[in-house]
């Protein structure tokens, strides 16, 4: 703060030009005035209109338009080989990818700016048969059987599809999409190549979609025993959504955003190696399809403070 500390002129003091000039010079201290010289409540927010908190926003279509869960819809099937996991970019029924294209006016994130992305999609996971009961399917465990005898293997029912966010911060050609910070590609290799997936800590921009709901309805579960392997209850069409946020630590230019599907995945953990992290791994022995209709991808750039 520019504090002026100068005693007042006293009667009897000589009228000195030097004193007068020094007094006037008090008011011309270059760069000395700062926010502490401003009285409280001197400015209202409405006075500062050139730097709005919200900088940019955009909404894009995902998948197909229309509200009804009828055609056109888009479908894809599960991963069948660890060598080529499914990476399905959200697209319409004609195969045209539905991405948020910012290349005509890219968003430049200054340090501290926050990028917030929201998405929603209506989905329908389906399958035939009971792939979760296959001998090689993940997630099976043994429980006692009603009436005694050998244990029954039931499923934990935790198979899922995953939708995650990617961005292109390289150029407007949109040929360099990569997962956003904190998100992996599910291409880590585990157990000497027997498994592939990613650590759960790298799913910051992932929405998981339940593949099926399997449980022991009716009198299946009784007194801690089961009389069957349970049954699947149709989940039907349902809405799914996700949110992601990123605070730029350095200048970043965003040219495009897109949502990518993969699956089927199943929970696991690295039981052979410390720190025994939780994982999501592909289960190529669990078959199914995911059909989706459409939704929205919304992005917002705002000032961090």
């Amino acid at each position: 703060m520019s504090r002026i500390e100068r005693p007042r002129v006293e009667p009897g003091q000589t009228t000195s030009a030097t004193d007068l000039n020094n007094t006037y010079d008090d008011y011309s201290q270059t760069g000395a005035l700062d926010q502490l010289n401003t009285r409280d409540a001197a400015f209202d927010l409405v006075h500062l209109t050139n730097a709005p908190i919200l900088i940019k926003s955009q909404v894009s279509q995902l998948g197909n338009t229309g509200m009804l869960h009828t055609a056109p819809t888009t479908s894809f099937a599960h991963t069948t080989s660890l060598g080529s996991p499914v990476k399905h970019i959200v697209q319409d029924s004609g195969g045209t990818q539905t991405i948020m294209n910012l290349s005509s006016s890219p968003w430049t994130l200054a340090v501290g700016d926050v990028l917030r992305v929201f998405w929603d999609l209506s989905v329908y996971p389906d399958t035939t048969g009971t792939p979760w009961n296959g001998a090689s399917a993940k997630g099976r465990y043994a429980v006692p059987t009603t009436g005694g005898g050998a244990n029954t293997n039931i499923t934990d029912g935790l198979h899922c599809w995953a939708a995650y966010l990617e961005w292109d911060i390289t150029s407007g050609s949109l040929s360099n999409f990569a997962p956003v910070p904190g998100q992996g590609t599910f291409e880590q290799v585990y157990d000497s190549g027997a498994n592939k997936g990613d650590q759960v800590k790298n799913t910051t921009a992932t929405t998981l979609i339940s593949a099926w709901s399997v449980f022991g309805v009716g009198g299946v579960v009784n007194n801690g025993k089961v009389s069957s392997q349970g049954s699947r209850q149709e989940q039907g069409w349902f809405g799914t959504h996700g949110m992601y946020a990123h605070q730029a630590a350095s200048g970043t230019t965003v040219y495009g955003l897109r949502l990518v599907f993969t699956g089927m995945l199943h929970p696991a953990h690295a039981s052979a190696q410390s720190p025994y992290e939780n994982l999501l791994l592909y289960d190529i022995n669990a078959s199914g399809t995911l059909t989706y209709k459409g939704g929205r991808l919304t992005a917002v750039q705002m000032r961090g403070d």
Partner: protein, 704 residues
């Protein structure tokens, strides 16, 4: 020719308006009133609150300007005195118990700007409420505390917390009641039928089955009866206040066919309350009814699982308006009156006053507020006085009377604008003194028994000094009555300065003003013994290494603080005390006179050095000065003085009232004034001026 004498036997205070009355003074600076003789004494100064010379300014050395000081008395006689300080962005407790000397940071607070009002502190029982208009009001109870190294965040959370409840509790989470499955004959399988999140706690009803039938368990017990009982909870704080009631939760169960005779005890998880919660209170309805009745107090803020075993209920629950979320989160000022806490609405509702339930500073009713007439401007101060609450506003003064919940407000004046809530204090025999935009005023009187309130200007004598006030920073002026000195001290920023740099002292016994200069008061309060303690107005913001910082007290020490020399603290020099008489015209300013002597009536002080100067006709330059005279009996042997008195030989002395006759040599004058400056002790009782006059008068006015 025969000389004449002007006698001023008893000195008055300052009077700067012209012409002056002869007993008044042009300037009294750095003087106080001697309590024995009511004479002006130069024994003033200030020293560090903590006097250890090797301690420098610890623990305050890093503090800049101290914005607020408050001394909280928690036991009579100062047995449990806590000093709270705000500096930078932190509220500190100065922990000096158990031989400690440390600052404990209690809470982050927004620092006021130079034009803001600093925090206002209000005592409630053994707690203090702190409001500053920017942060949420907090309530502090700084006792008991461990040694500073053992004070944890949890301990701080226990002694500092937000005032009031900011919302109702979450509804209690009812566990489902899994009723006993009907069994025809045979034994009851009590483990059957429950699922996750449910309980099966039951009591039989029949007298053959239980010692006190009907006392335990809730609801109907006959077969196929439906039971619906609703529960709500509230928090009880450590001040005995009750929070708003939660929304309700429903416990419902049905007694199955062939299964009569069971009453159930619904179980729930109670929410945990915010800091300061000491109990949760449970209310319920009777079966299928709407009114809530008291069930129980869970006397802690830890247990969550609660079983409603006993069927009895108590009083009706308070209605939803009895306690609402805290209505004044931006309150700037606060006061306690008629057992209620009063707060202003802050910048958002600056003409509204909210008040708490009596005895419950955290509990505010939905209708417990008063909206003031908008013409008086926003509330700038609240002060409880006699049977009223004084509401000082930016363009007037109102008074609030009555008792909870029926308070009323009426306007006393619309012309006086108090801008400095920290300058308000009650002065015995005078009234409530405060600094307004145009001077110092006193509010006195009342509304009972036909009395009236009046607002009287108190600062007429020093109006010229008060006009020097930096109006923008008037809110930073601080004032306190000092019982030890029987004086009201006011420190205000003047001459464009942004922090107090001039003191004005109103001496109660003389009803007179004097000035104090060189006292770096940033904020002030009084200790239990009446001593004024203040926080430095600059601290570490000053240039140089180890500038003075922290707490100081106004005392009779003959130094102005001190400085660090080497590694130790050394007291500074004594202040310069000044007495400047009024301009005497001896009855007629047109008549020329020759002043021959000034006789000062003083109590002897020893071989002190007093500079005596005299002036004529409003000239600034002195005619002459003289410091030859010592203040010993002029016609008796000198009294022994320190530094030369011999122990065992010299006797202890009593100060004597003696005339010190000082010659003056000036030619004719119309007006005469003298001045004494000293850094030594002086006790000035009165004076005389001897003069002669030939009767000649001034010549006619000067022409161009």
């Amino acid at each position: 020719m025969k000389g004449s004498t002007v006698q001023v036997r008893i000195l008055g205070g300052m009077q700067q308006t012209l012409p002056q009355e002869i007993e008044h003074a042009t300037l009294i600076e750095n003087m106080t009133l001697d309590e024995d003789t009511q004479a002006f004494s130069s024994r003033v100064g200030y020293e560090r609150y903590r006097p250890d010379p090797a301690d420098q300014f610890n623990p305050f050395g890093a503090l800049g300007r101290i914005d607020s000081v408050y001394v909280l008395q928690q036991l009579p006689g100062g047995a449990r005195q806590s000093v709270l300080i705000e500096a930078g962005n932190t509220l500190y407790l100065y922990l000096e118990t158990g031989q400690q000397n440390v600052l404990v940071g209690l809470a982050s607070r927004t620092a006021p700007t130079a034009t803001d009002t600093p925090s206002v502190f209000t005592q409630w029982q053994d707690r203090v409420i702190v409001t500053n208009g920017l942060d949420a009001p907090i309530i502090i109870r700084p006792w008991p505390l461990a040694a500073s190294t053992d004070i944890t965040s949890a301990m701080k959370d226990a002694i500092v917390r937000p005032l009031g409840f900011y919302g109702p509790p979450a509804a209690p989470e009812m566990l489902q009641i899994a009723t006993i499955a009907a069994v025809t004959g045979g034994s009851i399988n009590s483990s059957a039928g429950f699922t996750g999140n449910s309980t099966t706690n039951w009591y039989p009803v029949r007298p053959q089955a239980i010692a006190y039938p009907g006392r335990f368990g809730l609801g109907q017990s006959s077969a196929e009866s439906d039971n619906r009982i609703r529960f709500r909870v509230s928090y009880l704080s450590d001040t005995g206040s009750e929070s708003p009631l939660s929304t309700d939760s429903l416990a419902t169960w049905r007694i199955e066919t062939n299964n009569s005779g069971f009453r159930y005890a619904p179980s729930m998880r109670l929410p945990l309350g915010p800091r300061g919660t000491v109990a949760r209170r449970v209310y319920r309805t009777l079966n299928d009814e709407q009114s809530y009745l008291f069930v129980d107090d869970v006397r802690n803020n830890a247990e969550q699982l609660y079983h409603t075993s006993v069927s009895g209920t108590g009083a009706t629950a308070p209605d939803d308006l009895a306690s609402v979320p805290f209505p004044a989160p931006n309150a700037r000022v606060c006061a306690v009156f008629k057992d209620c806490v009063f707060l202003d609405g802050g910048r958002d509702q600056s003409t509204t006053i909210f008040f708490s339930n009596p005895g419950r500073p955290d509990q505010y009713g939905g209708l417990d507020y008063i909206t003031l007439d908008g013409r008086g401007g926003e509330v700038t101060g609240l002060y409880a006085y006699n049977n009223n609450l004084i509401v000082l506003r930016s363009a007037g003064i109102d008074v609030l009377t009555g008792a909870y919940p029926s308070f009323t407000v009426q306007t006393v004046t619309s012309q006086v604008a108090c801008r400095a809530p920290n300058s308000i204090d009650s002065v015995p025999g005078i009234g409530v003194v405060f600094l307004a935009e145009d001077g110092v005023y006193v509010l006195r009187g009342g509304l009972d028994g036909g009395a009236q309130f009046e607002v009287v200007s108190l600062g007429v004598g020093i109006r010229k000094e008060l006009q020097r006030m930096t109006l923008e920073c008037a809110s930073r002026a601080v004032g306190r009555y000092a019982p030890l000195e029987r004086a009201y001290h006011l420190y205000l920023p003047v001459d464009g300065n942004d922090r107090p740099n001039l003191g004005c002292v109103f001496h109660l016994d003389k009803q007179a003003w004097s000035l104090r200069t060189g006292f770096p008061v940033g904020a002030i309060d009084r200790l239990h013994d009446g001593t004024l303690v203040f926080g430095h107005n600059t601290g570490a913001e000053a240039a140089g290494s180890n500038p003075p910082a922290g707490l100081f007290v106004l005392s009779a020490i003959r130094s102005m603080g001190g400085a660090i020399v080497g590694d130790n603290y050394e007291p500074g020099a004594a202040p310069v005390s000044v007495y400047e008489s009024c301009w005497h015209d001896m009855g007629d300013a047109q008549v020329k006179k020759q002043v021959q002597y000034v006789t000062l009536w003083c109590q002897t002080r020893g071989d002190v050095t007093i500079d005596f100067r005299y002036y004529k006709d409003f000239e600034n330059a002195e005619v002459a000065s003289d410091n030859r005279f010592i203040y010993q009996p002029p016609d008796r042997a000198n009294q022994p003085v320190l530094g030369s008195a011999v122990v065992g030989t010299d006797k202890w002395q009593d100060a004597r009232l003696v005339p010190i006759r000082l010659p003056t040599a000036l030619q004719s004058c119309s007006w005469f004034k003298f001045r004494i400056d000293t850094t030594d002790d002086i006790l000035l009782v009165g004076y005389e001026v001897e003069y002669a006059s030939r009767g000649s008068v001034v010549i006619e006015g000067k022409q161009r």
